[in-house]
């Protein structure tokens, strides 16, 4: 449920940039959402149309790029996607450590 205020913020930021660039409407918003950032991409989509009504983003298409989280092995240094209930590296059985990959949550660009 916390996607509602954050979707408002996305529309606000996109609108601000459109205005700065003298554009009347936003046609596409490119959003990058990591799977562990805590926001569910489909919930953002659900709220988007309702919140965007009456704003420069009203007709905008929301393009969401999802990012699968990757760990980095503390032994061999390779990046890998973890399996449930383990942080073990599939290459060398070393231990994986969290990385920023999968925690992204930002507006990459807009098209006007």
């Amino acid at each position: 449920m916390h996607e509602y205020p954050i979707t408002q913020r996305i529309i606000e930021i996109a609108g601000e940039y459109a205005e700065k660039n003298h554009a009347e409407e936003v046609k596409v918003i490119h959003l990058v959402v990591g799977d562990t950032c805590g926001y569910v991409a489909s919930s953002i989509e659900l709220y988007f149309d309702i919140i965007a009504e009456g704003t420069p983003c009203e007709k905008a298409k929301l393009h969401i790029k999802r990012v699968t989280p990757e760990l980095k092995c503390s032994a061999c240094g390779k990046l890998f996607v973890r399996k449930p209930f383990t942080f073990e590296c599939p290459f060398c059985k070393g231990e994986g450590r969290p990385t920023e990959i999968g925690q992204e949550f930002y507006i990459k660009s807009i098209e006007v």
Binding site: A14, Y17, A18, G38, F85, F105, I107, S109
Partner: protein, 220 residues
Amino acid sequence: MSENKEIEIMQSVYDKNDQVASQINASLTSKGIYAINVMGAPGAGKTTSLIQIIKRLTDVTSYVIEGDIEADFDTKTLQSLGVKAIQINTGGACHLDSPLIGEAVDELNISDGVLFIENIGNLVCPAEFMIGEHAKMLISTVTEGSDKPYKYPLAFEKADLILLNKCDLLPYIDFDEDFFMKGVRALNQTAPVIKVSGKTEEGYEKVVEWIVEKTRSLQK
């Protein structure tokens, strides 16, 4: 039809929250307040642990901001013990954010001490939002099970101090401490893990030592 013009933004959607959080943090630091974001699942013993900690924090003044979706039982309990505490009710929201804390901090009007901000009982969302704290204290329990670091990694990754509560129940339940610690250490190599029991009151001296040391070094 004309081609679209792409404008690069690369702006975090958290920006507003994080800006306010940085301001709160700077303001608290200048007032000699060490702020701790207290996180944990519902029923993990967040308020019980706070009472145990505050009882032992004799040389440092404690303040509490209680976050709950509804009700103010915990605030009343703390106030009845003489603690300066105020309540935030989020009315449904699953975590505290920094604008809410900014208002509460202004209302409390405090200096020199430790501010505990008890977040909403939730092992997911509170870890994602900075609220102006200096440290995150996670309260996990043996009754939740030893797989929690694997299921809720972010809370364990972000924690600066981890309390493992309800340890008096260890003889009666299947809690695999090695599996738990292996998960914690994969995510977080530095946070001390302290076994405590809100029931028997064991372990809290070590927690208090950690808090006092951090508070003193902030006030230097």
